[in-house]
Assembly symmetry: C2
Homo-oligomer: 338 residues x 2
């Protein structure tokens, strides 16, 4: 299409014909679904009585395109996964774009195509959206905020209030892929092999987890701040401790090598397609078997247990047999990874 050779102009955010054209030619084309076709500022969705999960995420990842995904697929996965971590089946997403003047329409089209494909794969329609344009130098290509609503199945009650000592702590696969993929691309680092982001929608795997163990205590995706921030937050909110086994925590050799080279700890690196699952010890094997059946859960493993002692603290038996406390970073190790 000839329109896709140009760039985004201020007029594309003005509410006039240029904006309507942009929406029709790019977003409506890639997101086509009956909810979006309602064409109203708010989209109506029929729901049964129950509990709705709502969530939102602003995505400012840099670079916009990376090995294993782009800001469009990431924006879908991030929000779908936040819904999934409440045990919810995603019902609909919304997408709001803040685009910098001069951004290539071809890149916007590529991002929208990837976003549409990710939404279809997750089985969730993008129901409505918004487009704003800011002057050159007042943004950075494109930022995408996605929000989502999902339906929480009856009987599912996931949250830190469910945590207690003696539970099993599982992770759905190797950690650190997303953060290292972004960092290596941003810095032009070559580790001999391209490390791919793990960005993926976890909703199908979570549907199976929740169906098998409706009483599951906790699911959480270890994104910004990595596994250490996620576990520390949970330990604090749930007033429990945890004891991890370093040798059980899956890390790909190339990610471990990159971390060693860069002086980073994989425990602090963001993931975009992994989940932490905390469950009754007798459910651990069932849940690991379910995860292993999904491509997103191939490397799932039990990495430790919760403890009633030392509430608020994450301890880890290291590979050489010592014990250390895993704190979260006060600041930020890798900015703009999501």
């Amino acid at each position: 299409m000839s329109r896709l050779t140009g760039n985004v102009e201020m007029a594309h955010g003005g509410g006039g014909r240029a904006m309507v054209g942009l929406i029709r030619n790019i977003f409506a084309r890639h997101f086509a679904n009956p909810l979006l076709a309602q064409g109203h500022d708010a989209t109506a969705i029929a729901v049964p009585a129950g509990r709705i999960a709502v969530t939102t995420d602003a995505h400012v990842v840099s670079p916009l395109f990376f090995a294993g995904g782009d800001i469009g697929s990431l924006a879908v996965h991030g929000t779908v996964n936040d819904l999934a971590m409440a045990g919810a089946r995603p019902l609909a997403l919304t997408a709001a774009y803040i685009i910098e003047e001069g951004f290539p329409l071809a890149d916007l089209d590529r991002i929208a195509a990837s976003m549409g494909a990710a939404a279809r794969a997750a089985g969730v329609p993008i129901a409505t959206g918004d487009t704003k344009v800011v002057e050159r130098g007042k943004g950075d290509g494109v930022f995408i905020t996605t929000s989502g609503i999902g339906l929480i199945p009856d009987g599912v009650d996931i949250g830190p209030h469910r945590l207690a000592g003696g539970m099993a702590v599982l992770i759905s696969g190797p950690i650190g892929d997303h953060g290292i993929a972004i960092l290596s691309q941003r810095q032009g680092l070559d580790f001999g092999t391209t490390i791919q982001s793990d960005s993926a929608a976890l909703c199908h795997m979570v549907a199976d987890i929740v169906a098998a163990v409706p009483g599951i205590a906790l699911l959480r995706d270890p994104t910004r701040g990595g596994l250490s921030a996620t576990l520390n937050e949970l330990a604090e909110a749930g007033r429990i401790g945890m004891m991890l086994d370093e040798r059980a925590i899956p890390v790909r050799p190339e990610v471990a090598a990159a971390c060693e080279l860069l002086g980073l700890d994989p425990l602090h690196i963001a993931n975009e397609g992994k989940l932490v699952c905390i469950c009754a010890p007798q459910d651990a094997d069932t849940l690991l078997a379910i995860m292993h059946r999904h491509p997103e859960g191939q490397g799932a493993a039990k990495i430790g247990e919760t403890t009633a002692q030392n509430p608020g603290f994450i301890r880890m038996i290291t590979a050489i047999g010592g014990t250390r406390v895993i704190d979260w970073l006060s600041g930020e190790q890798l900015p703009r990874i999501c």
Copy 2:
């Protein structure tokens, strides 16, 4: 609080302790409500069976603080109003911040305070949020994307598909206030008096409208692109024409004077606290009386009628008795007004 004398740093968006501190000290304090207190990535909300309205809006207004509001109150009003235009009672909002490194914490606090106050006035909790920080020069102070969900009452079915010829077209008050308030402040123009934005939540007025006339055909807020873009969009989507009466369209004298000075047409200027209502002719007086009872509807007036002829076209009998076609702008008259 001493923390509020500093500036936002990259670490505030990193997912670690700095971010948790920012959320606790600013957002949680001003938004305090039981939904937000759940503290999970997704918030659970109980809903009855029915239809949910979902909507999203990215806010990039410049300047951030303006006469009659700021980006915080605007972000609440914009999304509450999009829900209201579906006839929905707002249930919950989400708020995602993209903050430029170096933004004063005191300004962020002021914006969050205004946002909390606007949400309380509208009767809707801010249920969850997200905070991202981008490097200096990659953003512009703060952008806020709000999304909302609301409950559409049974029997309410608002949309362009309900439009037909012979209906009354109402506006809830004088047009152009928001756009001219922003523009005059941005340009440092002095029109002798400060023109205030009309930014306001319309949900209370809409609740009364929908209760009185559940079969109301159409509500729409004439924001970006102004009244002309809104009516043209409706005429196209609803395959109807409209005939307006220029003398009946309320415009404050100071806004009219500013528009004349700047060569702008108030029909193209954005509003943030007005609605267009299209209804059966026999309901017009009832609805005008309801609007007049609300501060947001003080200047409500009937401004024209829909026609079965000339579908897709808005015509207007001018003040001097001629007829002209009201087109929408192709581009953008005033960038970044919302």
